[in-house]
């Protein structure tokens, strides 16, 4: 089984995906093939050599001049090195979506739109192996690219990419046709994720496919979109509507030293005077020692915020779907009364 979540104690084999990482933070995902070779600005790397090397070690180029690290693939590394077809979600947002939507192995998740597949990969990794992700995208080119990528990562059994405008046609795959296999998704989804230009139009559709107590998440960069979404969610009796903004603030650690600032003007002369007066000499030695100490003390290990960071990605709105509240017996009775009518 080739997959991003493969247990990697048994080493690498052909068909597996690995990440090649260079010291200048340049990462590439490749699938190993027999007789294959990887070419980049660092040189030529043979796939057979990568397999010999193993994870976490350096593989050398054919010229033996440059080297790259062989790393295990992961969803976080995928987010780092994927091809941007659209604006993507980054790790802080992704991790919040995964936790707040209570995704775990076995969950059934619906996503729209697929975009570059940054979040899709993370969801698929989390719901693997028994769960499933149904993802919708209205751009045909992106659908094809995403399908190819998911297959390479070994998620073809866990992700269904559908070419469809979810706002018009909804999320339910109950009609067989050009959309692919027929699957009734009504009342089945544990979570729905929306990243659309006008997400409030899709919430009614999302309501249909969500389970009772299922979670919905909307990602929108503009607060006006969020407002419309919240109104819509409230109208459909969603509860726990909470909106968050989450950003990562990276720091760089270093030893920071300052130059010694001395206020006395004729410091040099004072030191010369020292041998003449033994009593003072002791003090001055101390002073010199102090000065050195100060130099060392001033060089301290601290962390500095990175100069340029992402100032805004989007607002994440979460809510819980409520379909059947109360006691089960009463719900069943009500339902029967309705069907009798």
């Amino acid at each position: 089984m080739k997959s991003i979540v493969k247990a990697t104690t048994d080493g690498i084999d052909y068909g597996d995906m690995v990440v090649l990482y260079s010291a200048d933070k340049f990462a590439n995902e490749i699938v190993l093939r027999k007789g294959g070779r990887f070419e980049c600005h660092s040189g030529i790397f043979l796939h057979s050599k990568i397999i010999e090397t193993g994870f976490g070690k350096k593989v050398y180029s054919e010229s033996m001049r440059e080297s790259l690290y062989v790393l295990k693939p992961s969803s976080t590394l995928h987010t780092h090195c994927l091809n941007h077809r659209t604006q993507i979600l980054y790790s802080p947002d992704i991790s919040m979506v995964l936790l707040q939507c209570a995704m775990k192995p076995g969950s059934l998740v619906i996503e729209s739109g697929t975009g570059s597949g940054s979040l899709s990969t993370s969801i698929a990794k989390t719901v693997f192996p028994t769960g499933h992700l149904y993802t919708f995208e209205f751009n045909e080119e992106r659908v094809k690219a995403a399908q190819k990528e998911f297959e390479e990562m070994g998620f073809d059994q866990n992700i269904t990419v559908t070419h469809r405008d979810a706002i018009e046609d909804g999320f339910n795959l109950d009609i067989a046709g050009s959309d692919g296999e027929k699957t009734d998704l009504e009342d089945k989804a544990d979570a729905v994720f929306l990243d659309l230009p006008s997400p409030w139009k899709a919430i009614g559709h999302a309501y249909k496919v969500l389970k009772h107590n299922g979670r919905i998440c909307n990602f929108s960069p503009c607060i006006e979109q969020v407002q419309k979404v919240c109104l819509e969610l409230n109208d459909l009796k969603f509860s726990h509507i909470r909106t968050f903004e989450c950003l990562g603030k990276p720091y760089v650690s270093k030893n920071k030293g300052y130059e010694y600032l001395d206020y006395s003007e004729n410091e040099g002369e004072e030191v010369k005077e020292v041998p003449e007066k033994p009593k003072k000499r002791k003090r001055d030695r101390k002073a010199v020692q102090k000065k050195e100490d100060m130099k060392n003390r001033n060089k301290l290990l601290t962390s500095e915020p990175s100069f340029k960071i992402k100032g805004h990605t989007g607002y994440l709105t979460f809510a819980t779907c409520n379909k059947t509240l109360g006691r089960v017996e009463e719900i069943v009775q009500k339902d029967q009364k309705q069907s009798d009518k």
Binding site: F128, N213, K237, C246, Y315, G326
Partner: protein, 419 residues
């Protein structure tokens, strides 16, 4: 001429306002239509609903409207107390998760009109004109005609909840002078104080994390939900991982790891010799108390046992040697650098590690150590900046009070040492 200009501007503005209003009315109608469409298909006792019913022995998070909460295992004959709300287990068992229970006339009934704890207090009308302002409102005690004793008397003769709130509002002199937004705020405060209801929530990981963050004493490490999510995501956990967990968050992190690994794979939980985490059973019991997660695949390892030189511990060491594919360190009693050097020999190459600390400097030390020894790549020291927003028409802004920091997280991927 000068006098006419503002009038013209006024009419233009009013036209725009009218257009907007018309649009909003149209929008509200659309929403109503949609509501009707969806409400027709609401009730359906499918199999998925059945899995959302509270059964005996389930753990339920009970949250009262005054903010008090409790996680409890359901027994029919047991009485649960949340703030001043009492409820029997048998009244909870059989309800679906998300149901809200209300105390009325010494009886527990299911609240139907309110779906959430905090939304009912806000009107979501969009075109609320701001007619009033606070120019004539003075902070005087006479504003409220009812005295404390009178309110207490009303309570004693059985006027409670909504009735009492209506009474208080009627006796407030300033209430009608307030703006609509201000009235809502006033009502919100009263409702929090005088209404009495409890919501039954499923103890999902994010609810547990919030519960622990808000409730457990200051002694335990504070881990906010965003940090927990980030740690779980950045360590590449999946159902096939072998992970090493060193934590003293009373089982919150372990519960998260167990949930992400679906009770498959292997979790090694390393306990260190310091009072609290020596009591392994207590900790796992605490974790079980919080969540419905079982965690049969956790293997407990005591650091002291590991250090011994008998055959058993040598074998254990051999078994653990370079076996873990992910590692989480969330511990505030020891320095991250020390903890990592303990864990180091058990990690595979290309192992995903996340270390959390409330302080930045200890993590910077670890980062320097990793850089100097060439032990890792993709080293990232990060702090998460998370803000929650109040989203209401014309009143959207970040929450006034928020928790400042969720600590710092150092995440990296281990490699073969040497440069």
């Amino acid at each position: 001429m000068e006098a006419q200009e503002p009038v013209e501007a006024d009419t233009k503005e009013s036209q725009i306002v009218k257009k907007r209003e018309a649009k909003l009315v149209q929008k509200m109608e659309e929403i109503k239509e949609m509501n009707q469409r969806t409400t027709n298909t609401i009730i359906k006792p499918t199999s998925t609903v059945k899995s959302n019913v509270i059964k005996e022995g389930d753990r339920v998070l009970l949250v009262s409207n005054s903010g008090k909460s409790l996680i409890a295992k359901m027994k029919p004959s047991k009485k649960y107390k949340i703030g001043n709300f009492f409820v029997m287990g048998e009244e909870i068992i059989g309800c679906t998760y998300g149901t809200i229970l209300e105390n009325k006339n010494k009886q527990t009934i299911i609240k139907e009109d309110i779906y959430t704890l905090d939304q009912d207090i806000h009107s979501l009308e969009v075109n609320t004109e701001i007619n009033n302002d606070n120019r004539e409102i003075y902070a005087v005690n006479e504003n409220q005609k009812l005295s404390y004793e009178e309110i207490e008397y009303r309570k004693s003769i059985g006027i409670r909840g909504q009735e009492l709130i209506d009474d208080i509002v009627q006796n407030s002199e300033t209430f009608n002078k307030r703006t609509k937004f201000s009235q809502e705020k006033y009502l919100k405060r009263l409702k929090k104080k005088h209404l009495n209801y409890v919501e039954l929530r499923y103890p999902s990981l994010h609810h547990i994390c919030d519960f622990v963050y808000d409730n457990v004493d200051n002694k335990s490490l504070k881990l906010r939900h965003d940090a927990l999510g980030y740690i779980l995501n950045s360590t590449n956990l999946s159902c096939k991982s072998t992970s090493l967990v060193i934590e003293n968050t009373k089982g919150v992190v372990t519960a998260g790891v167990v949930e992400r690994m679906n009770e498959q794979g292997i979790i090694y939980k390393l306990s260190l010799p310091d009072g609290e985490s020596n009591n392994v059973n207590g900790e796992i019991m605490h974790m079980n108390k919080l969540s419905n997660v079982e965690g049969d695949n956790i293997e407990f390892i005591n650091y002291r046992q590991l250090k011994k030189k008998n055959e058993e511990s040598i074998e254990l060491r051999k078994k653990l040697q370079a076996s873990c594919s992910s590692c989480i360190i969330v511990h505030d009693k020891h320095s991250p650098k020390d903890l990592f050097s303990i864990a180091q020999e058990f990690l595979q190459y290309s192992c995903y590690v996340a270390v959390h600390s409330q302080f930045m400097h200890p993590l910077a030390e670890l980062e320097k150590y990793l850089n100097d020894m060439g032990l890792a790549v993709m080293i990232r020291l990060e702090e998460l900046f998370t803000r929650e927003y109040q989203v209401l028409p014309l009143r959207t802004h970040p929450h006034m009070v928020t928790t400042h920091s969720s600590g710092y997280i150092l995440s990296f991927i281990t490699i073969e040492a040497g440069r």
